[in-house]
Subunit: 82 residues, 2 copies
Amino acid sequence: MPTIVVEVMPKAELLDPQGKAVVGALSRLGKTAYTSVRIGKRFEVTVDGPVDDAILADVRELAADMFSNSVIEDVVSIEVTE
Amino acid sequence: MPTIVVEVMPKAELLDPQGKAVVGALSRLGKTAYTSVRIGKRFEVTVDGPVDDAILADVRELAADMFSNSVIEDVVSIEVTE
């Protein structure tokens, strides 16, 4: 069944506390090559039946309204995989 | 600066309660075309300097040990972007 992958990241201008914690841990481990870590979400939505334009438009709407909070997050990618 | 994108998903054989909640909400909204939703994580790691084999090997190790819990999650993708 086709799967639509939706990716959501915190907006670039916002502090990402989870990511800050990880990059802090990395530098304490002596791994100084990494300047920033940001952590977002990846949704795999499995569709029953073919992915047509209506489904894609619906998923785009869901991504904007339900999977992400547009105040603090951006939908960075919507991709159909098999 | 180059960014390495690491994607982590809950293992296929495990229940994903967040995803179950979303697919339940979708069906209550009358959107029955979606049979499953699984929610994972997306890490954007920014590297200071070029991404060579050493950095890639290091990120692969970090992805397995620090970004994911191998008991319940799989690293599904590690990709270098500019």
